[in-house]
């Protein structure tokens, strides 16, 4: 007889989401639904009728952790629709910005993921805020890496959060030779720290995989060897930067994408039958409460070739570097492995920049309503923005963001894991939920949903 347990809200990630889990008598998940409960942002509707200059700025406001990815994806979606070619040096600046964003975001995720992990050789979970060594120096290293990422983002992007420098046609400003030197110095400082941090994280994650149990709710919960395994595919558009419909060989195909409504995907109304007051923080939802995933989920369910796919660090490594580790820890290790790429790519790009070259296209066509898309490899995965621009105004705009892709995939990865460890799997995806929330397209059925929600 299966029971239903709800963890709401899930913690230590960006945004608001919850888990509704059907578990068997041993507490093993038979079916898991992980869904966003963040209120709808409405950016896609706000964009309609705005100029192509405004929309990337509005789009970046969807979130404060990867605004750089959203700015770049939206900017390039406009460029793709209008057919704008940007100068090489503008591209290099964007690559630096991208690397800086990924560096700081991955470091931030380490802080969030560490409390699940154990110090090797002990049964002590890591508290990243502990003043004790070795954790103290790790926390400092993470903060320094974030400082490096954010400062470089600030120099190249004008702002670390919601960058002001990228524009349709390239960038507003090139950097000065002094700024170039500063980026070099920061990247060199980051190189050593990133290597140490990567090795530290991988050691802890490998150690977690070797463990038999993890302490949860005051008891020892057995860790299955296939924690977080799924058989879905992977989707990535580039190892580091991105792809767009202007490319000779686009790495993403809109024809393979289909969006399903949550009504058709998630579980129907369920009553919570299992509760655990010992679950951090404040216990799981009380038994007797109702949960209705198909109604409460705020995201669409995007499918690629008819299936949910995984996006993110592992998807990039699988597609471009033959990475083969599965499961929650496999994903965390993939993320750690990307640290060095961020820094090396940054150094390569800054080395190639000509600080006196123009960074904005001479001619910016105003668009004829053609659809254009740009896929940006955000820290959490492939962030696709689609746009139609006509005479300088945006007619249609859509954001297909990484965590939207990961919601259904991760839900499948939950199957077979003890419910107490469901959040460990969720956190491995480094979810960033706020941008994943979407307007639902209204049609006959959805009108019904909207009405029910209003009741």
């Amino acid at each position: 007889m299966s029971k239903v347990v709800e963890i709401s809200p899930t913690t230590r990630h960006e945004g608001h989401s919850k888990l509704v889990l059907k578990v068997n008598d041993e507490g093993i998940i038979e079916r898991g639904d992980w869904l966003s409960i963040t209120p709808v942002r409405g950016v896609e509707k706000l964009a309609i009728g705005k100029t192509y200059e405004q929309v990337p700025k509005i789009a970046s406001r969807v979130c404060g952790i990867c605004p750089i990815a959203h700015t770049l994806a939206a900017t390039e979606a406009m460029e793709a629709s209008m057919g704008v070619e940007i100068p090489d040096d503008a591209y290099l600046l964007r690559v630096i910005l991208q690397c800086a964003n990924r560096l700081h975001s991955h470091a931030l995720h380490d802080i969030l993921a560490l409390p699940d992990l154990y110090l090797p050789g002990t049964d002590i979970k890591v508290n990243p805020f502990s003043p004790e060594e070795p954790v103290r120096s790790v926390a400092k290293r993470i903060q320094t890496l974030r400082m490096i990422g954010q400062t470089i983002g600030e120099i190249v992007g004008g702002e670390a959060v919601h960058p002001s420098n990228p524009r349709v046609g390239g960038m507003y400003k090139n950097i000065t030779p002094r700024a170039k030197a500063k980026i070099f110095d920061l990247a060199k400082q980051g190189l050593k720290l990133a290597r140490e941090q990567m090795e530290f994280m991988i050691a802890l994650e490998e150690n977690y995989m070797k463990r038999d149990w993890a302490e949860m709710c005051g008891r020892e919960v057995a860790i299955p060897k296939d924690l977080g395994y799924h058989n879905q595919g992977y989707m990535a558009a580039a190892p580091m930067y991105g792809s767009s419909s202007l490319d000779l060989n686009p790495e993403w195909d809109p024809a393979r994408w289909l969006e399903v409504r949550p009504w058709d995907w998630y579980m129907g109304e369920e009553e919570i039958t299992l509760e655990d007051p010992a679950y951090p923080i404040g216990g799981t939802t009380k038994a007797g409460t109702k949960a209705w995933p198909q109604m409460q989920a705020c995201t669409g369910v995007p499918l690629y070739d008819g299936q949910p796919v995984e996006v993110g660090p592992r998807a990039r490594l699988v597609k471009y570097q033959n990475y083969d580790r599965k499961g929650a820890m496999g994903l965390n290790i993939a993320r750690a492995m990307e640290y060095m790429d961020c820094i090396y790519k940054m150094i390569e790009a800054v080395d190639a920049i000509d600080t006196s070259a123009p960074v904005c296209a001479d001619v910016i066509p105003q668009g004829d309503g053609e659809i254009g898309w740009a896929a940006n490899e955000a820290p959490r995965g492939c962030d696709v923005h689609l746009a139609k621009v006509r005479n300088g105004k945006v007619e249609w705009f859509s954001m297909l963001v990484p965590t939207t892709w990961n919601f259904p995939t991760c839900s499948r990865a939950l199957t077979g894991a003890p419910w107490e460890l469901a959040e460990v799997i969720v956190r491995a995806y480094d979810p960033c939920v706020s941008c994943a929330t979407h307007m639902i397209v209204l049609d006959e059925n959805n009108k019904l949903v909207a009405q029910k929600l209003l009741e």
Partner: protein, 290 residues
């Protein structure tokens, strides 16, 4: 000395560098301070009023070398929105220690920005040297142009120096034709915004300087903050600046005080006028120093 603000010391000073003095407005204090600070690494860039697209039209620029700094020597009696570059200096210019020169109102804005850094993320701690210049009022470029071209009957391209002093606006040209007009004539060209200003000697700067109070070729210098004092004393020690006591200097601080009082009482009256109920359309403004 009610209107001179707080200061640690006041000097009669001029630059110790002949190159600077050759094209300086008065004592060349701002250029010398920034040149010294750039040379010794106190700052790694200074936001100054550089040459613009028209003669005597200032445009803010970031000088990171003494050569660049020299391009901005001398006063241009028009508005240079130096604060417009303060954020960019920390961004695409990659500066960590910024010097900025400005009129009293601009220095107020710098300090306010440091206190409430709205739109100035990570900027406040990077401003290390704020130099203020004495300011009675300022002119929009079109006003200055008319004063020079029409009232002084001089082509503005030919002007080598402009000066305000002793109740006169003077224009000097290369050919030696100099003209002067009484300041009274220039009043109508002033920026209206200057009439609500209650600061004459840049009370909030690290160091403030101007010609008033000291003989020609010298400047009056108020050293106000600890950072300003440290930098100024080092510049004096290194010979970039020659500083002497203000004791017995004619016309001295009395004149500075007189002009400050004149400006502030006049503008106080205007503020009261604005605050009067008959002028409800004009917004009353508060004194930033109360």
């Amino acid at each position: 000395m009610e209107y001179l603000g707080q200061y640690k010391a006041v000097y009669k000073a001029k630059s110790g560098c002949e190159d600077i003095l050759a094209k300086a407005q008065d004592g060349g204090i701002v250029t010398s301070m920034f040149a010294y600070a750039l040379e010794t690494g106190i700052i790694d860039g200074a936001i100054v009023a550089g040459p613009g697209s028209e003669p005597y039209k200032p445009e803010p620029m970031i000088a990171t070398t003494v050569e660049e700094l020299f391009a901005s020597r001398g006063t241009k009696y028009s508005v240079s929105p130096n604060l417009a570059l303060i954020k960019e200096a920390t961004r695409s210019y990659g500066l960590d220690k910024i010097g900025i020169v400005g009129t009293p109102c601009q220095i107020q804005a710098v300090r306010k920005g440091q206190l409430y850094p709205v739109g100035l993320r990570d900027v406040p701690d990077k401003i290390v040297l704020a130099l203020g210049i004495f300011c009675m009022e300022n002119f929009p470029y079109q006003g200055l142009f008319q004063m020079v071209e029409d009232h002084c009957a001089t082509k503005i391209e030919n002007v080598t120096k402009m000066d305000i002093g002793k109740g006169k606006f003077s224009v000097y040209t290369e050919r030696g034709v100099n003209s002067q007009i009484p300041l009274k004539v220039t009043h109508k060209y002033e920026q209206p915004g200057c009439h609500v200003c209650l600061d004459y000697v840049a009370n909030m700067a690290d160091i403030s300087t101007g010609s008033v109070g000291t003989p020609d070729g010298w400047s009056t210098v108020f050293v106000r903050s600890a950072a300003g004092e440290a930098a100024f004393n080092k510049a004096v020690e290194a010979g970039w600046i020659i500083a002497e006591s203000m004791d017995g200097v004619k016309p001295g601080l009395e004149l500075v005080e007189k002009l400050a009082t004149e400006k502030i009482t006049k503008n106080q009256k205007y503020l009261e006028h604005r605050a009067h109920k008959d002028h409800a359309a004009l917004k009353p403004l508060r004194n930033p120093y109360i």
